[in-house]
Symmetry: C2
Subunit: 525 residues, 2 copies
């Protein structure tokens, strides 16, 4: 494919801005020679205006037509072939095996949404038939309208231009305007080509999809404050997500912002678990912390243990293996410098001991950071919320607690997270229940005897959690329910069947599961 460095606005290339930036290979820090043009305010406006116009057509489409678009997007992504993998690898350093897997995940979730649409139950049809003194009321979910998507740096396929936010918003029936991540502009352009091709082939209006490049915060701000945007999906840092949240909340007409942001993913390991399988947990934990050079929102960054000889041995063993583990490549300069800053600030805290690592890569090296283990006390975590900050990289922090009560008090002081994990033994079930359900209040997903990295794209997955993990604790950005972020219920009162979508018609021509007079059924009225 021919790369242009331009923005993709409703099917047309556009490069009006003077501000340009380049794709950088994190392994050798060399920049490509194709300039990518940051979108101008005018280009942002055109993309949104086109999305608003596109919505007037898209909102009439049956679920099946949107499903066809999604399947076509998946096929077009696959048609990008090896070039996609090599381009992304050059821009992110994530490696071909990981990227190959992530491509399967990205196309898989797009196709899962297509299947969800064809099934139809996702419309959540609820009907109360006419009764004496009560009109017939029928409701289902409808698309919200144009959605702004902010792509993440760390999943160039699964959380970026054609990632989960884009797939769920398109599946909902919403046009999307994607702000690409500046860390992988060439990869983003390939995805823009794939989606644009699918949009054209399936006869969708060109404004159904636009992709804006931009290295600064300007384009994102213009997008979030544009009156034509009805919702925002964001995956990235706490600082970035909070900024977009605040812009959207201050609008004359506020809109929902679904930002998935920072998380330290606390892990509690009991003494019994250490006694039974310290080696296994050590290996699993080191693997989880260093996987993808630690650049996962589910990276286990805070490990809580009761103080004991076994715990200190375990920490020593993890430290040793972390020190010995190969140093990975970080995504880009922003990630490298951000990690250096955050670890330096934490390490400078007098209550922190650095057990290994804590060193930024040299100028001559790839973007990297040494695998880092730090240790602190439970009292420190409870009293200094700076110690709950996310270190986005191969870094973890051990917290030693003075017994079970101190551990429980520390869990109570945790901020919101995407996940919490407990390692314990079957024999402890009677004692552990209270702790487990205390951990559930702090997260969207609770893991038993596992590690938080690895987020299965299944219906039951919940990838979300209380702030600062997200700005919308009732929602998920992974799994089928992600679609509801971009839909809203509309009820029809006494409206004749001929004017209703098939899903709401008395005879249930689509044969979908509906809640009719408080009973779930796929029969007609």
């Amino acid at each position: 494919m021919q790369l242009t460095g331009h923005n993709y606005i409703a099917g047309a290339l556009s490069a009006e801005g003077a501000d340009t930036f380049f794709s950088v290979d994190p392994r050798n820090k060399t920049a490509g020679d194709l300039p990518f043009h940051s979108a101008t305010r005018g280009e942002v406006d055109r993309a949104v205006v086109a999305a608003v116009a596109a919505f007037d057509a898209m909102r009439r489409y049956p679920s099946s037509k949107i499903a066809d678009l999604l399947d076509e997007v998946a096929a077009q992504i696959e048609a990008l072939g090896e070039e996609l993998l090599h381009t992304a690898d050059r821009e992110t350093g994530l490696g071909l095996p990981r990227l190959t897997g992530e491509r399967g995940r990205a196309t898989g979730q797009i196709r899962s949404f297509a299947a969800l649409l064809r099934d139809g139950a996702y419309l959540r049809v609820i009907i109360n038939s006419e009764q004496p003194g009560q009109p017939a009321i029928k409701q289902m979910q409808f698309p919200l309208g144009p959605v702004a998507i902010f792509a993440a740096s760390n999943f160039p396929f699964a959380f970026a231009v054609a990632g989960g936010d884009s797939a769920s918003a398109l599946a909902a029936g919403c046009p999307i305007v994607v702000k690409a991540h500046p860390g992988h502009p060439a990869t983003s352009e390939l995805f823009a080509q794939a989606i644009s091709a699918a949009v054209e082939k399936q006869g969708f209006p060109a404004g159904s999809f636009s992709m804006l490049q931009g290295r600064g915060i300007d384009a994102g701000g213009w997008l979030a404050e544009h009156d034509g945007i009805e919702a925002v999906g964001f995956t990235g840092s706490l600082r970035g997500g909070r900024a977009i949240h605040d812009i959207a909340a201050r609008r004359p007409r506020p809109i929902p912002v679904y930002a998935e942001m920072g998380s330290v993913n606390p892990v509690v390991i009991t003494q019994a678990a250490l006694a039974a399988r310290a080696d296994e947990i050590t290996g699993g934990l080191v693997g989880s912390v260093t996987m993808g050079t630690g650049q996962f929102c589910t990276n286990p960054g805070l490990i809580l243990l009761e103080d004991s000889g076994a715990s200190r041995d375990f920490i020593a063993s993890v430290t040793e293996q972390m020190a010995a583990a190969p140093e990975g490549v970080l995504l880009n300069e922003a990630v490298a410098s951000g990690l250096d800053t955050s670890v330096s600030q934490t390490a400078a805290n007098p209550q922190i001991s650095v057990l290994t690592g804590g060193a930024a890569g040299a100028d001559s090296e790839p973007f990297c950071y040494s695998n880092t283990v730090m240790q602190t006390s439970a009292a420190a975590i409870r009293t200094d919320d700076r110690l709950q900050v996310e270190h986005f990289g191969p870094v973890t922090l051990f917290v030693l607690c003075d017994g079970r009560d101190d551990l429980r008090a520390t869990v109570a002081a945790l901020e919101g997270n995407l996940t919490t994990t407990v390692h314990a033994e079957e024999g402890e079930l009677a004692d552990i229940g209270e702790l487990l359900h205390q951990l559930r209040e702090k997260a969207g997903r609770v893991i038993w005897n596992g590690f938080p990295t690895g987020v299965a794209v299944v219906h039951a997955m919940q990838h979300g959690g209380p702030y600062p993990a997200t700005t919308a604790p009732g929602t998920t950005s992974v799994g089928m329910n992600a679609i509801y972020r971009f839909m809203r219920p509309i009820a029809f009162q006494n409206v004749p069947d001929a004017l209703l979508p098939p899903a709401l018609q008395d005879g249930n021509p689509l044969g979908i599961l509906r809640l009719v007079d408080d009973v779930y059924t796929d029969s007609g009225l």
Copy 2:
């Protein structure tokens, strides 16, 4: 019952504040002699701290225990007997027939939530069983935590201390701290006594419920910004709701605000409908505009017609009937002065003609306002958004459009509303579909050949809509789905059955409907 004028904080009376106010009878503007004490910042804090402590117990309760509390609340409300009706009538002027009906609505919706909890499907259990390479993931809905409720003035039973917001938050399993509306403090205290009695009788922690009095905005602001509050339910004015939204969005840890605010509930009437049943529509419209002295969020305040002789005759007829209709009593001084201000501002707009009314009540009269009809052009509505402001009272505004295209363009320029309505004939179905679905984009409920006042409390009801109707278009404040505003999904990965709530256990001991491996079933795994 003995009224005290105190705040109800976790089962105890409290009156620490020096600021007091009185219950006023809107019919004769005389104040009662019992001083009601506005809550202090310290009292707000104590209520929230007690709610946080209560949540630690409530979050462990099975749905059935919460259902028992709800049924007890309904019974305790009924046990208040005639005193409740007379107290509310004296404070609101709504009249005994309306209040008797509203009491049934309030207890009915509380009991509907109890039934929902006993059925269990509301937990939205989703299970993906363990597969090769994929852990078992099980999710369901859990309560968010302590919720702040802001009671409305116009429904002293159904949207106030024990109204829909309170019922749905309690049903979700959340402790509630209710800011009572200063327009009916004695009624509020009776409800506080009823709920407190139910809380005690069912063995719930005292902090499960608190009720704060307050005539100013201070207590509400302290409540919304308190770190212990996890969500806000609000019913009231656009100004009040936006202020609470903004406070919550600026918190260090933002929380969701579900504010149901202003709405003008546009009604489109076709020429064919006028030709077929102008008299019937006239009567229905006048009844809907004047019902409850127009103090409904679903009051039809904007009527769109194509300009014609028939339309002008219709407007004349509505105007005549509005002028002849008895003048109702307004709830309180704030409503009366607010209505006077908003109608005066609209009437002063050079594009507005006042056809009848537009006069505030005299000092010697009850709080009241003359039944008011105004008229403007479609071009005016499209270009001046001040003309889409809600007039909270017996007021409606006709908009004459130059034909169908002008009507369609005007509908496109409408702001968000709770409802939109179309009156048309069966013979027009082929022409009207596009307009109907254009109207759906502007509202949460679309009504065919009816009037928007009268909101059935059924599962399929959607009482919400795009801003400024609400701050959360994906949610409803009426009907069973109101519960999801106060819940969030939590997923459990590989957690042993013994540690899971019964709803998530493999054998499905509760026998509830669950989505298991993408199939809805009430069988066990």
